[in-house]
């Protein structure tokens, strides 16, 4: 599907469907956040609890290690901070305006 410009009704695929996968990556949804997770790389034990529990794809991982938060997709739900083991406490939720 073309995303560089808006399609006319004649260019749409049959049915109201999106005919290729992973297109949501192109749709940034992090801009309605009121709380933001702050990740501390020194405290993180890379258990990946936050990654597996994130309802979107906001936890960035490389080589099985957390590398940060992708704020383009994070809606600030706080699940990552909630599931982070208390002994590590590597993720803190702060107000977006701070």
């Amino acid at each position: 599907m073309k995303f560089d410009k808006l399609m006319t009704w004649k260019e749409l695929p049959a049915g109201c469907l999106i005919d290729e996968p992973s297109t949501s990556l192109r749709f940034k949804t992090g801009d309605w956040r009121s709380m933001r997770p702050l990740w501390n790389s020194e405290k993180c034990i890379h258990c990946l609890f936050c990654w597996i529990n994130c309802p979107d794809s906001a936890i960035k991982v490389e080589n099985e290690k957390i590398t940060g938060i992708d704020y383009n997709y994070c809606k600030g739900c706080g699940i990552c901070a909630e599931v982070c083991p208390p002994k590590a406490s590597a993720i803190e939720m702060i107000r977006e305006e701070k």
Binding site: L6, M7, T8, W9, K10, L12, A14, G15, C16, L17, I18, D19, E20, P21, T23
Partner: protein, 392 residues
């Protein structure tokens, strides 16, 4: 081809058996219960390969059909009246997603007051949902129309409702001719869906949120697909005529060539009206009948061509729009003829609500009335409620 005796419901269930859909999800409702009751027996007896889903409501029935259709299946269901009303939300979802589901429907009044008998208020209330609508006049036509409608639906990706009149057709035994199973299968062919959720090589997103930037384009494309239904219907109906010897135009004319006046109506009443036309013709009166069989999409040009040749037309509507302006067929017919230079005087007769019997004498009275309108050159009474106590 063999001759059998079947009610409208039996005929529709038998057509479903010969179609052998992949999935049927349904919930029983009078007077359409028998359609799925008989069909579920075919399933139990192993006469079809269908996955039969017994659900807890019509809303669920059509929702299950939507899921099965998105998965690429050939899908059918059956309902009536309140059941169609409960499906209403999902009707739009099926049509918007271009899922060619076919409903074998029995027209029954909508409550209140609660009633199980015939009028067309259920399907007329779903005119804007994006489904093709075919109104049948007898069991034979119901059987044939289901087979035709399925093929048209699948070719155009527009879902279809094929309806009969409650009890008058659904429960009346008639003689009809049915095709061989293999002929039906060859006629409808293998279903090739435009897309399938089971196509794992090509994953897609079905039913995504569609806001101000694309909703209008998607609706416009749907309207365009819908505009191709009539042409496809005519082609498929002719193919079916070659196979069966029975041709069903979108709009049927009966003894109209030299007629001055005509009744324009649908369903079993149209067949009854033919008897009246024959009787009046014997008296030398120039009366005819036009039967609307397809009411979505509207065969606009055919209706204009058929009706503009008369001096006066009486529309007979088996439902009311609650617009204080008669029934839906009347309203839309007047709209279609507005731009015609030569147009008939058009009156409306709302009749038969809740299964109120429509007699030959009632129909003869309508012909008397429109002949009078023709003589006077003007309409005295635009909308008449025919056969109701307290009305003149």
């Amino acid at each position: 081809m063999k001759t059998v005796a079947k009610t409208g419901n039996e005929a529709m269930a038998f057509a479903m058996k010969q179609i052998n859909p992949d999935v049927v999800a349904a919930y029983p409702i009078t007077p359409a219960t028998e359609v799925v009751q008989i069909f579920s027996q075919y399933v139990a007896d192993g006469e079809v390969d269908t996955e039969f889903v017994a659900v807890e409501s019509e809303h669920s029935a059509l929702s299950a059909c939507v899921g099965a259709s998105i998965a690429g299946g050939r899908v059918m269901t059956s309902t009536s009246s309140q059941g169609l009303a409960l499906m209403h939300e999902i009707l739009y979802i099926a049509a918007g997603n271009r899922l060619p589901i076919v409903i074998a429907l029995v027209n029954r009044s909508l409550s209140a007051p609660i009633n199980i008998h015939c009028d067309h208020s259920d399907t007329m209330g779903s005119r804007e949902a994006g489904w093709m609508q075919l109104y049948c006049a007898n069991s034979q036509e119901a059987y044939d129309s289901l087979i035709i409608a399925l093929k048209v639906a699948e070719q155009t990706a527009v879902p279809a409702i094929v309806s009969t009149d409650a009890f008058i057709i659904s429960h009346a035994m008639e003689r009809l001719e049915v095709l061989e199973d293999s002929d039906v299968q060859n006629f409808i062919g293998e279903y090739e869906p435009r897309f399938s959720a089971l196509d794992l090589e090509n994953p897609k997103t079905y039913g995504p949120l569609d806001l101000q930037d694309y909703f209008f384009e998607h609706k416009r494309a749907q309207i365009d697909d819908f505009s191709k239904v009539l042409e496809t219907y005519e082609k498929v109906a002719k193919e079916y005529a070659e196979l069966s010897g029975r041709y069903y135009p979108a709009l049927e004319e009966y003894k109209t060539e030299d007629a001055d006046v005509a009744i324009f109506t649908a369903g079993s009443t149209a067949d009854t009206a033919k008897e009246v036309v024959d009787e009046l013709r014997e008296q030398g009166r120039k009366v005819g009948l036009v039967r609307m069989r397809m009411w979505r999409p509207l065969p606009v040009e055919q209706i204009k061509k058929a009706l503009t040749k008369f001096k006066a037309v009486a529309v007979m509507d088996r439902s009311d729009t609650m617009a204080d302006f008669g029934g839906p067929v009347f309203l839309e017919t007047r709209g279609m003829l507005y731009d015609s230079e030569e147009k008939p005087l058009i009156t409306d007769y709302v009749y038969g609500l809740g299964g109120r019997n429509i007699k030959l004498t009632d129909i003869a009275r309508v012909y008397d009335d429109i002949e009078q309108v023709t003589k006077a050159g003007k309409i005295e009474k635009l909308i008449t409620y025919l056969g109701v106590r307290g009305e003149e």
